[in-house]
Amino acid sequence: MFKKILIANRGEIAVRIIKACRENGIKAAAVYSEADRKSLHVQIADEAVCIGPAPAVDSYLNMDAIVQAARKVGAEAIHPGYGFLSENAAFARRCEKERLIFIGPHSKALELVGDKVRSRLTMEKAGIPIIPGMKNIAEKMEVYEQEAKRIGYPVMIKASAGGGGKGMRVIKDPADLRPGLEAGRREAKAAFGDESVYLEKYIEEPRHVEFQVLADNFGHTVHLYERECSIQRRHQKIVEESPSTALDPELRAEMGETARKVMEVSGYNNAGTVEFLLDKNKNFYFLEVNARLQVEHPVTELVTGVDLVQQQILVASGKKLDYSQENIKQNGHAIECRIYAEDPLSNFLPSSGKILFLKEPWGPGIRHDCGVYSGCEIPIFYDPILAKLIVWAENREKACSRMIQALEDYVILGINTTIDFLKDVVAHPRFCEGKITTHFIESYFEDWQGREKTDESKRLALIAAAAAEGNKTLRPEKESGSFKNLPTPWRTLGKWRLGGKH
């Protein structure tokens, strides 16, 4: 086993990995940019090395600095977390060359699964279902008609040069294909100056369902069941859960087997995730492999009991996986909400600055993976994820109640976060029923404005402000001189009036 690991990341995931190292008797070395000296991951590591200025490209993406840091502290392995260099095949290769163990798949597997076109081709050859579509652009209407028939209706017309929905249209009835193609070509021409269009299977009521996989260096691969990640905003997952309400035991087994096969075909090792799209008729299609620890890995940990970071480390150190597929079980239900520094009332603009106060929720079944604290500064340079709130309960209904209550108990003051938004998402009747698709947020939360505030609540807030005004401990300590010389209410006898025009 390793004696020391360098964690080439920051924030909540670096904290999570450091904790895993500690529990396994491994020393954890942190790296940090100049903006992160006071970050939580730096505070709790056994050693910490500054690797450059605040911009990620100069620090967390700086391979030389990271390899040097690993050398300096004498780490045998590097855990890249997620994002940054985690799926960078060049970095994995560099580590291999430097005889540092990269805790993730080897560089060849990374390269293959990182190349979307090549990996889909590989999967198709191996008989893994992918979204059916035309391989080439055709000229003649007859070709489109044949292809549409082969693919199966409904089909979607897509512009080759496309993007942003331009030229896209859904055809359900074969009679509508010709006029649709003509219109699509005109739109494509107008939008992109290129009238080429092609057909792809239209996925109705799509759900994003992914499978967690673990593979050791000896070819033994197991899956740890699914995560449902359909709740997305601008293609960014925000709520994840396991199990998915869309799967029954047969489909789950079939998709799980397919996921394992995807990894075997890819020659994959360590932890990874196979993403599928699932349609309303329960057909599933391979999308891609995420070749890293996922943000949402805790839901799998809570449901299977397997510590994925620990297994990543074990596998990377050359240990055999100690699980057979049969002894991995799903137990209960887990939901994760991602807490972002974004303002849901202002188009989710990032919200940097100082967290004046933070109180995390806690209690039975609540896990909080967190990278911030009361008083910390949120820099503008990195991903806006602050923390993840994950709950486990015996069943989905109880997990939803628990999550709503936990979000209600979660206080962050000073910056804007997605907490209130997430509370309404999880409390939404369609979510409670489990009837979700990737269109859920755009369908129900486009114009979210938060809840109406009652007069009683406002009155309590006013009382609190007034009470605090009379309590000096709330006044921020500032250097004298820089602090405005406000009159102090508490020295005045009798009635006293604060601010305002009278």
């Binding site: 206080v411 406002k458 309590l460 402000a465 006044r475 209410p489 009635k495």
Partner: protein, 180 residues
């Protein structure tokens, strides 16, 4: 700096803006707890400071924990699962520079919507710009935000360059009403 507490006074009046609504209240300190008054409404309140950021209130059969943080003249408050911003009207008026809502001046002085890094300034001094034309792109936390012109105008001055780090107070671009 501040000393003491309520010793000298038994009743204090406060005027606050809460979510931009003006409210006048008073709080009177009694032997046991306080009396809260707002217009006709009056009620005893038991207020305990648990920490500088946490208050425990018992009022009319309700028991509530309130979280509060002060940022210069603004109180950020969390209770009943909701966030409130409470501030002194004078401070608010200063911020608003005497005006209501967005002024023409606001429209002509283009700022970043949040602190971030200027990825690209898309216009130069003297350019004519149309309403909704992208003036600059600012990035924060891996998210790019296009800053668009709020009106047809001409670029009077550019105060930012690619790569600059800017806060949300800095004027990036000054526009002037075009004559057309």
């Amino acid at each position: 700096m501040g000393n003491g507490g309520w010793e000298g006074s038994t009743e204090m009046e406060f005027e606050y803006l809460i979510d931009n609504e003006l409210r006048k209240i008073s709080l009177e300190k009694k032997e046991e707890g306080y009396i809260f008054t707002e217009g006709e409404y009056q009620s005893p309140v038991d207020i305990k400071f648990i920490s500088p950021n946490i208050l425990s209130l018992i009022v009319e059969g309700r028991n509530v924990r309130i979280f509060i943080a002060r940022d210069s003249d603004i109180f950020h408050i969390y209770l009943d699962g909701q966030r409130f911003v409470v501030r002194e009207p004078a401070a608010f008026e200063e911020d608003q520079a005497g005006g209501e809502g967005r002024s023409l001046e606001d429209d002509l002085n283009i700022k970043a919507p949040m602190p971030g890094k200027v990825i690209k300034v898309c216009v130069s001094q003297g350019d004519a710009v149309r309403k909704n034309q992208t003036l600059a792109i600012v990035e924060a936390m891996k998210m790019e935000n296009e800053i668009k012109s709020p009106l047809d105008a001409a670029v009077k001055a550019v105060h930012a360059a690619d790569g600059d780090l800017v806060d949300s107070e800095k004027i990036l671009i000054e526009l002037e009403k075009s004559e057309s």
